[in-house]
Amino acid sequence: MESEDSRQIRFLKLYTAHELAIRAFVRTLVPARDDAHEVMQEVAVVLWRKFGEYTTGEDFRRWAFSVARFEALAWLRDRARERLVFNDEVLQLVADEADRRADRHHKQREALEDCLEKLLPQHRELLQQAYAPGARIDQLAQSRGQTSMSLYKMLHRLRINLLECTERLMLKEGLA
């Protein structure tokens, strides 16, 4: 019989190893970054609560994704009247796609660090400011003396460039 301490350690190791993948998965389903963070906290608690069911040898990431999908969909259904929530069919399609591309996203994360280093320092700093917890684009735009729209566009261009860079690196290293 596995001791409680051993179970906790096993969970922590598995959860820590897959947390970034689960976060990325949740983010694809939840429209707002802050909401994704909130859902992620709930997912972590449910994963631990249900960890007793994880004894049949399932792949942890796959099991965690199924829990995360359920939690994210439940969270979204509670907000179904809000205008930016996809219908069920689209949510299932997106969740399936994110699940299928999880390995690719893992490699994308690895390549991202090199790509971030290729950015101009001020652009790297801009990304950190824009993605900081609680950051507001309108305030950031104002402090930079530009409109929110132009800042959104700039951030989008940076993301596209990073996406392209990670794919180039993955291809170069035979990971794509």
């Binding site: 906790q8 820590t16 490699k107 994360r109 993605y131 900081a132 989008h156 860079c165 180039r168």
Partner: protein, 515 residues
């Protein structure tokens, strides 16, 4: 396309849709507006429709949001680093168990190894994402709650447990019948001993091991195991680079690869690399600062207890469908053994024998795991070659003028040699073999490969056609093949491939016979 090393200034970018041309400006804008929560109702409706109907759009959508999530983590990491450095001291005794937990993790072992041997960026990258995980976890209420409910004095003990999922199990036998694993079980691994049978298992860091009895192994962590005796194959993913197998005589460290290790009770260790790289050093060689030797795809060595030098393993028997392998020379099938006359001390390539391993998709060269035999376009793979015994040669030998490869054959058979059509046939081949007129091809090859004179396919990949030569061998004994090199010609083209099939009931008279 930006230069890899150039800094990128988006304010000068006027070609956002040139390389990302599979989506239109408008489509990218929808994704961006959704991610930034600035999308309007009409845009959201269109986005939903595209996600429902356009696979490629859906893929780019999830890729974009996965990147968005990573950028959020990057920013959280920067914030957490500030918090940790100003408020939390990781060397604080109160957090020592967490440090111990993390430091014993496979990721940290990987970092230690990579810092010494790999390009800086790989090490830095691994550390970066591990640090991101730790930073996120440490600030996570769940982590702190779990940590606070754990007894710190039991952490070290429990952390030594290595968990594994049983993927396959086949007739595993122990003296006391104590192992009752079944497929799908998660089991703790510490001291594992069984007298016969095989099992495939996956550690929780993703390392897949195929273990073959009799075997005795101890698992110190998910990144480090001691093989007292027995044979294993390991497949180590990016997450677990640095996975180490220690034996009585040697230490084998993965550098991202599939490899095999065998340890005998007499103290000899065999190491074979199927794909990627490992580094090996002897435990008892103190005279050379225990120098590491790097082995690459298609190389194999023996570290014998009584011999200080690493010896080349000239042949390896492989299983067609399983991950089992053996360095012993005898076995079932038409090809009992294969040897060559290479004596250079630094040469470590092995010849592989795969009983019934020939066919579409089979690997012709032990040192080129990516290249495969294929039918030429518009034709099927020659039926007589399907399930013939495959002999994997090594591409590294293609310029060796003195090379001889000897096949020990168990019964009358047809020996096939596959010669690059760019090469002239060497005299030994023309004398004993006939060109059947059939062709198969091998690839894909990169543009930097041995593809001179070959036109790439429309997808940019190169394939090389080979002529199928054959001879009938009516004896039981040794047949020797020579070098692919023809005197007076430029060395250009592949090393030949080899297969051995049974004598068909019909058309045997059409075969040229080996004298």
């Amino acid at each position: 396309m930006n230069n890899d090393n150039a800094w990128y200034d988006p304010s000068n970018d006027e070609r956002l849709n040139s390389s990302q041309s599979e989506l239109t400006d408008r489509q990218w804008l929808l994704i961006q507006q959704y991610a930034d929560q600035s999308i309007d109702a009409a845009g959201f409706e269109l986005l939903e429709e595209l996600l429902q109907t356009d696979n490629r759009f859906r893929q780019r959508f999830v890729d974009y949001l996965a990147l968005d999530s990573s950028l959020q983590v990057d920013s959280a990491l920067a914030a957490a680093n500030t918090t940790i450095s100003s408020e939390v001291n990781l060397t604080d005794e109160s957090l020592a168990p967490i440090a111990a937990l993390v430091q014993d993790d496979a990721e940290f072992s990987k970092i230690r190894v990579l810092e010494k041997s790999s390009p800086k960026s790989s090490s830095r990258r691994s550390y970066y994402w591990l640090a991101a995980n730790i930073a996120l976890s440490i600030v996570s209420p769940l982590f702190l709650w779990l940590y606070s409910t754990s007894k710190s004095d039991s952490l070290d003990h429990d952390n030594s447990i290595v968990w594994a999922e049983i993927l396959e199990i086949n007739n595993l036998t122990t003296a006391d019948n104590a192992i009752k694993w079944k497929k799908g079980d998660w089991v703790p691994l510490r001291d594992l001993m069984f007298s016969a049978g095989e099992t495939d298992l996956r550690l929780d860091n993703g390392v897949t091991l195929s273990l073959e009895g009799p075997l005795h192994a101890e698992f110190n962590s998910g990144a480090d195991m001691l093989l007292h005796y027995g044979r294993l194959s390991a497949e180590v993913g990016e997450n677990a680079k640095g996975f180490t197998v220690r034996t009585a005589t040697s230490e084998v460290v993965d550098l991202g690869t599939r490899f095999g290790v065998s340890a005998s009770e007499a103290g000899d260790t065999d190491v074979v690399v199927f794909e990627g790289e490992v580094k090996v050093r002897r435990n008892n060689d103190y005279t050379a600062d225990r120098a590491w030797t790097t082995l690459r795809s298609g190389e194999a060595i023996r570290a014998a207890k009584k011999n200080k030098e690493l010896q080349r393993l000239a042949r390896v028997r492989l299983s067609k469908n399983k991950k089992l392998w053996s360095s012993v020379s005898s076995g079932s099938g038409l090809v009992i053994d294969v040897t060559d006359n290479v004596t250079e001390p630094e040469f470590r390539h092995y010849l592989g024998v795969v009983p019934q391993g020939m066919g579409q998709g089979a690997q012709p060269f032990s040192d080129r795991p990516g290249a495969k035999w294929q039918a030429v376009p518009g034709e099927s793979f020659p039926q007589e070659l399907e399930s013939a015994d495959l002999v994997r040669t090594f591409l590294a030998d293609r310029g060796d003028r003195e090379l001889e490869i000897s096949l020990q054959l168990s019964e009358p058979c047809i020996v096939y040699v596959f010669l690059d059509t760019r090469r002239l046939a060497p005299a030994w081949l023309e004398k004993a073999f006939i060109d059947t007129g059939k062709r198969i091809r091998v690839g894909p090859w990169p543009a930097s490969g041995p593809v001179r004179g070959i036109e790439p396919r429309s997808d940019g990949k190169y394939f090389i056609d080979c002529a199928v030569w054959q001879c009938r061998y009516d004896k039981v004994g040794k047949l020797t093949l020579g070098s692919p090199f023809v005197k007076g010609t430029e060395n250009q083209g592949l090393m030949y491939g080899v297969a051995v099939g049974p004598v068909p009931q019909s058309n045997v008279d059409l075969q040229r016979q080996y004298q």
